[in-house]
Symmetry: C2
Subunit: 463 residues, 2 copies
């Protein structure tokens, strides 16, 4: 491994610790300074983006989708600056008390949120991802190693420069946000599981799968989005058609787009199945059959039971019951987002309580499975991992916890050193409000008052 | 890979889904049935344990510590049964609402706790770990693959039998709790990252390290516990001695035992450093020096800056300031538990806010870093991982989350399908209390009343 790459990661860790030393207000001010710099230096940023666009346009096989993602459209820089300001204005994410307990007299435990540490973010050609991620990382006290797509090299370098140029005034080393270049450097970084705490790949499924297969560092992301929609016997068929179409057509390549439509058997005889298929086809969706769909609905065979089309196409399969539908989803889904369409509340409740997926929906488009739509403010990514963070992940995915214990000299002595009280305490508004010394003084004062009352009653009280 | 092992894991997953179908009350009843069975069949369990003890005693090199761990002492089975009952009585851990939000009119999102899925637990010679882990897993709806030490083979087989014999009456397949035998089977299981959700190794550091290096499945555990105690210039020296001794001597091989004592420079001239060292030596602790400790305190050199002794010995090093102490801890610690001894509240607050470890203590023994002492009820393990769960981990380490969205036919339509309200809702007591249909009916009724009032006013009201 190149020692240079490892050094960079360690410097990011050290810089992140300096960032964490800043007060919440200072970290917010830093973000506001970054926002102003983005606006002030918009011309430079646009010029760098023009370079990338020109280079991409001059390439032999110009890909329109790529150009779309690459382009910083008018108003975009302003929007990124506003985004940074919104993140500056959010509640302080670090040191937020999650639980508090008196373990024994004068011994108080508080569990608080803490920065995760150093994040490696790998994103493809969208340069606007860089300031968004950087804003989130700065607010949460995390160091960043960023690897962008080579098509956006000039934009990314300029955006990073504009951001880190603001660091000096706050005493933060520029290495707090590093830009990584080249595949070899990424391969090196993926080995640094002692320095990097989380990898977030933002891009194609193949990128996510490659990362997951090549590192011991935890990866936040999803390799597959094999999304199911089950149309129950009691479904409103108009609603079902509308939701199936939106789930597939709104953005066919998205991870939350519909891939398999499961239809209850009873809808074959009633003509409901045919109605659904006609509506989907009319919306431009190509249909393939699961084992039963192929035979009984005369559909061409789907490539596999578990298949992500990524285009306006989906599989259709028949199921004999909701149990059958749930088994099918558990067997062939990717536990990303699965949905039931039914007017029967009891059926919906059972589906929702039983389907073991990150997102389980009733009578809504699967496309709602998204951080912005879920109201998270900023989306770090969607996770199909079951640990740490699952589903659309906001700022909490960039945080971990610390347990803070404040004592007054207590020893353990094989659990005979203290008498455990394990008394749950109300959550303090801010960490650091529990001072066992102070609590003791207050309890002492209360005890003194109480004793005085007892003595007073004993002396003067009536029986 | 043996398909038999993979089959076992998949059967555990299927069985766990059946377990999740039971109501909370039924899952608690199952645990109570297990508790009664443990008591009823105590003789069988003791006989199996006697077999293990006899086999261990007959081995060539009898290890006293092993025999201690292996033995189910009188009263232990009763204690395990009581533990199972306590876990039965705890609040329902599944489906607990964590947040709730109205995304748009009639579209409600609830985030709830959910079982993690299938856990692989690898524990060494303590057979009492089996019923404890099984009780936690049954309450939280998780499937279990258990690999115990071969010394406890008879005890483990009997304990597992007693537990799973109760399953039939509840319709749960016995494979919900599987016992794995042989190293090969473990190696096979560690490859099943698509079926197993979490590995929890309970045992020596070398076991944990081996597991961490040989699987892509997330591992809950700590490979090192390089615990520091920093004695500040303003420390109460009597307290410091007492806490340093307890932190090292209470259980020298524990992960939360003291390994490095950092002493502020000023305590050399005052004689405080000598006092601390004398007290530690008098308590039977052998002292080794860090680079400065070796030179200035005339101590034999420590094996390394970062070293876990695991016996009544520790390193002693001098530091020039708290900053210096924190840098030393960040550079050489394992972010498990680190502690400051000082009477200066401001110094303590700064140490606590800056040290980036799972547990950060002030004026308390590092031995308190433990699930039972932290009041978690049952400890799943102590994690030095920064993601998912950090520090002593209770039942929450066996849970993940699901996002449940209840709609009334909403489509996304490139975010023009609904008007987002993103209104935070009060947490429902229980998942399933939000029924958008119901909310709509209620709103409808309110609107009807409101309209009636308006019409009534228009017809009969005075101006």
């Amino acid at each position: 491994m190149s020692t240079e790459t490892a050094d960079l990661a360690r410097k990011a860790r050290d810089a992140s610790r300096k960032l964490q030393l800043l007060s919440s207000a200072k970290r917010a001010d830093l973000l506001r300074a970054v926002a102003s710099a983005l606006e002030r230096r918009e011309d430079e940023i646009q010029a760098a983006n023009d370079e990338d666009m020109a280079r991409a346009a001059a390439a032999n096989d110009v890909d329109d989708a790529l150009l779309q993602r690459l382009k910083l459209k008018p108003g975009k820089v302003k929007q990124l600056a506003d985004g940074a300001r919104a993140i500056a204005n959010m509640d302080e994410p670090i040191g937020k008390p999650l639980s508090a307990m008196e373990l024994a007299k004068g011994l108080t435990l508080t569990k608080v949120t803490a920065p995760l540490g150093v994040l490696l973010i790998i994103f493809e050609s969208r340069p606007d991802a860089l300031p968004q991620i950087a804003s989130l990382a700065l607010r949460t006290g995390n160091g960043l190693l960023l690897k962008g797509g080579k098509e956006a090299a000039s934009s990314n370098a300029k955006l990073r420069e504009v951001i880190v140029d603001e660091f000096e005034a706050f005493g933060i080393p520029k290495e707090c946000v590093c830009l990584i270049e080249g595949r070899e450097a990424v391969a090196d970084l993926l080995k640094l599981d002692d320095v990097i705490d989380l990898v977030i790949p933002r891009g194609s499924n193949s990128l996510v799968t490659y990362i997951q297969n090549n590192t011991k560092i935890p990866v936040l992301g999803h390799a597959d989005g094999v999304v199911h929609m089950y149309v129950d016997a009691d479904a409103d068929l108009d609603m079902a058609s509308k939701l199936a179409i939106d789930s597939k057509i709104d953005y066919p390549a998205a991870c939350n787009a519909l891939e398999t439509l499961l239809i209850h058997d009873s809808l074959v005889a009633t003509g409901g199945a045919a109605e659904l298929m006609t509506a989907l086809r009319a919306a431009g969706v190509e249909l393939f059959g699961g084992p039963r769909g192929e035979k009984e609905l005369k559909l061409p065979p789907a490539p596999a039971l578990r298949h992500e089309y990524g285009c306006p196409a989906c599989s259709v399969e028949l199921v004999s019951s909701m149990d059958n539908a749930i088994d099918y989803i558990h067997a062939n889904g990717s536990a990303h987002t699965d949905c039931i369409i039914t007017s029967n509340q009891a059926t919906a409740d059972e589906f929702i309580s039983r389907v073991d997926s990150a997102c389980v929906f009733h009578n809504a488009s699967t496309r709602f499975s998204d951080g912005f739509r879920f109201g998270l403010g900023a989306e770090v990514g969607i996770s199909t991992s079951r640990i740490h963070a699952r589903g659309p992940v906001g700022v909490e995915g960039l945080l971990t916890t610390r347990c803070l214990l404040r004592g007054t000299g207590q020893i353990c002595d094989k659990d005979k050193g203290v008498t455990f009280t394990h008394k749950k305490l109300p959550l303090p508004k801010k960490e650091g409000l529990f001072k066992p010394g102070l609590v003791q003084k207050v309890s002492g004062a209360i005890a003194l008052v109480a004793n005085t009352v007892i003595v007073f009653k004993a002396l003067f009280g009536r029986k």
